[in-house]
């Protein structure tokens, strides 16, 4: 029996030692690593950048995680990531908080994104104005009948509040760029936790309407063409229309660093803004910033 206990003891000691040293070993390896965190919209894009970048230089390691723009910026502020991805501008409040913690957010515009408004392919409604969109998402318009569709109650799909897409849509569509606007998403809007969840629900529900980055459009959803107002031209969410600036709901995608980038972070960002990096932007259905 005592022998058994010593044996157990030894086993536990080994487990203990492994537990302590494995993370240490990783920390040593991770010297050349960059943590990139934030916007879910940008995760696929950043992952593509990271993979290409790591192929070129196997010693450098870029880890990409999502979670939402707010998540990325708050971890930049708390110092747990090197680069924050954000699909909205940093808020004044966040800058103040960052300064308190000795962090200086530095903004880099890395790509552009068109926000597509999608409905079920069975829905006859194919074009909407910004005014109508605002009406729909604030529940002033509640039936597709009012927009020339079938007699069905509109089901609103929105991203969660941690999403930069949510914030952008609220500020630029619901409030029509008015910084003092008070419009809010209707409380009855369903808050889904990912763009993919919205895509799935739109595909399955004939009365649903949702919004997300252009990259998520597939044949199971129908993108709606959008006009600034009733007299303007209705524009489809397509890459060329975002580049030309004709499509009314497009937004810049940002990367934030602490102070002007240096060392390996700068190396990575130079790659992102290079011709090769921007080709990856195009390949992942976003819009490059440099032509």
């Amino acid at each position: 029996m005592p022998k058994g206990i010593t044996g157990m003891f030894r086993k536990w000691m080994i487990a203990f030692i492994v537990l302590i040293f494995v993370p240490l070993a990783y920390a040593g390896l991770a010297k050349n690593s960059i943590q990139v965190k934030g916007s879910d919209t940008m995760v696929n894009l950043a992952q593509a950048w990271a993979e290409k970048y790591m192929q070129k230089d196997a010693l450098n390691f870029v880890a990409v995680t999502g979670g939402g723009s707010g998540t990325g910026l708050s971890s930049l502020i708390s110092g747990t990531c090197n680069i924050a991805m954000s699909s909205r501008n940093i808020k004044a409040k966040e800058i103040v908080l960052a300064k308190q913690k000795g962090i200086n957010p530095y903004e880099i515009k890395a790509a552009l994104d068109g926000l597509a408004v999608v409905v079920n392919p069975a829905n006859p409604v194919a074009k909407l104005t910004i005014e109508q969109l605002a009406g729909i998402f604030t529940a002033k318009i509640t039936n597709w009948k009012e927009l020339g569709g079938l007699d069905e109650k509109i089901v609103l799909l929105s991203r969660e509040v941690n999403s930069g897409t949510h914030v952008y849509f609220k500020e630029h569509v619901l409030r029509k760029n008015n910084p003092n606007g008070q419009e809010e998403f209707a409380p009855g809007a369903l808050m889904l936790s990912s763009s993919q969840a919205i895509a799935d629900e739109v595909a399955a529900n004939s009365a649903a309407i949702g919004y997300y980055g252009m990259g998520y459009i597939s044949s199971k959803q129908k993108p709606v063409s959008i006009a600034r107002d009733a007299r303007s031209e209705y524009i489809m969410p397509k890459i060329e229309n975002v580049i030309s600036g004709k499509y009314p709901i497009s937004r810049p995608l940002f990367l934030y660093t602490n102070g002007a980038p240096s060392g390996i972070v700068k190396d990575f960002l130079d790659f992102v803004l290079s011709k090769e990096g921007q080709e990856i932007v195009l390949a992942t259905d976003f819009v490059p910033v440099i032509k």
């Binding site: 707010g70 708050s74 089901v155 409380p187 009855g188 369903l190 936790s193 529900n205 009365a207």
Partner: protein, 287 residues
């Protein structure tokens, strides 16, 4: 040498024993420290009975009544579904089922408990949600009812295994006495076994409910997360847990939104604390 070893192990185990209490205390203190700060911005009354939840607007509206009602509605629905089935299942396993079937049923229940909640949520999203939409002709199937049904599956293993235990620990002589007096099998179960095991069964129910109200992933996936005051079980709801899970990532550390989410955590903690203490009281009464 042996004595020293005994002593060391004894003390180690003592530390392990105390650790859980210390952790609970630390967690609660941390929750209080972070959460109470929100009451500098909004009064407790307005926080709990406020009807709109727009945490990132300027100024933020921090009313969690829709969230509390959402949680309670989903939990109530899950309780109504899982209690009769769970207790019935426990009675069958403890009193009626032949030995072989009993083992199979018990294994099945344990398997049900082992399914991760995210998997249940996913299954619910693809199977249950469209079904509910079509049956009730709703605009969307992401409703409180979908959440209740999925959560009932999660509460059932807890209810069945603890209730079965309670029935099993009723002295055999009770049942024998009842049968000897000429009661039928059902009469002896209904009039003798169930009342004798009632406190254990109530504890089982409370623990099952406790599991449901704290569940996050599945409800976040299938209840639609719309922060409206629910007027029926067929509308989307947003629960306390889903709110914390969905928004904690966004909240800037030290902002009012961050404090508000911790305060939501306090509310949740208090609710599940009450449920667990009630369950504990029932369990001790039995002994």
């Amino acid at each position: 040498m042996r004595k020293i070893k005994e002593l060391v192990i004894e003390k180690l185990i003592l530390i392990c024993g105390l650790a859980s209490i210390i952790f609970v205390a630390l967690i609660f203190l941390f929750l209080l420290k972070e959460g109470l700060a929100v009451f500098n911005i909004v009064s407790p009354f307005k926080f709990i009975f406020g009807k709109s939840w727009y945490p990132i607007s300027e100024p933020a509206q921090l009313g969690i009544l829709p969230l509390i009602l959402g949680s309670l509605l989903v939990t109530l629905g899950a309780a109504i579904i899982s209690i009769p089935i769970g207790v019935g299942c426990a009675i069958y396993i403890a009193e009626i089922a032949p030995l072989k079937l009993k083992e199979a049923l018990k294994a099945g229940i344990e398997l049900l408990a082992a399914i991760p909640s995210v998997v249940l949520g996913f299954i619910g999203m693809v199977t249950l949600v469209p079904l509910i939409k079509n049956i009730f002709h709703l605009p969307t199937g992401l409703t409180a009812l979908s959440g209740s049904i999925m959560l009932a599956f999660m509460a059932m293993p807890t209810i069945v295994s603890i209730a079965e235990d309670a029935l099993y620990s009723v002295p055999k002589t009770y049942k024998e006495g009842a049968l000897a007096l000429g009661a039928t099998h059902w009469q002896s179960i209904w009039r003798v076994m169930l009342p004798a095991a009632s406190s254990g069964i109530l504890a089982a129910v409370m623990l099952g409910i406790g599991r449901v109200i704290g569940e996050t992933m599945a409800v976040m996936m299938i209840t639609g997360n719309a922060a409206v005051l629910p007027n029926s079980i067929l509308v989307p709801v947003r629960t306390l847990t889903a709110t914390i899970a969905a928004e904690m990532g966004e909240a800037v550390v030290g902002s009012e939104h961050y404090f508000a989410l911790f305060a939501v955590g306090i509310v949740l903690f208090v609710i599940s604390f009450i449920i667990n203490v009630t369950a504990d009281l029932f369990l001790h009464k039995r002994q």
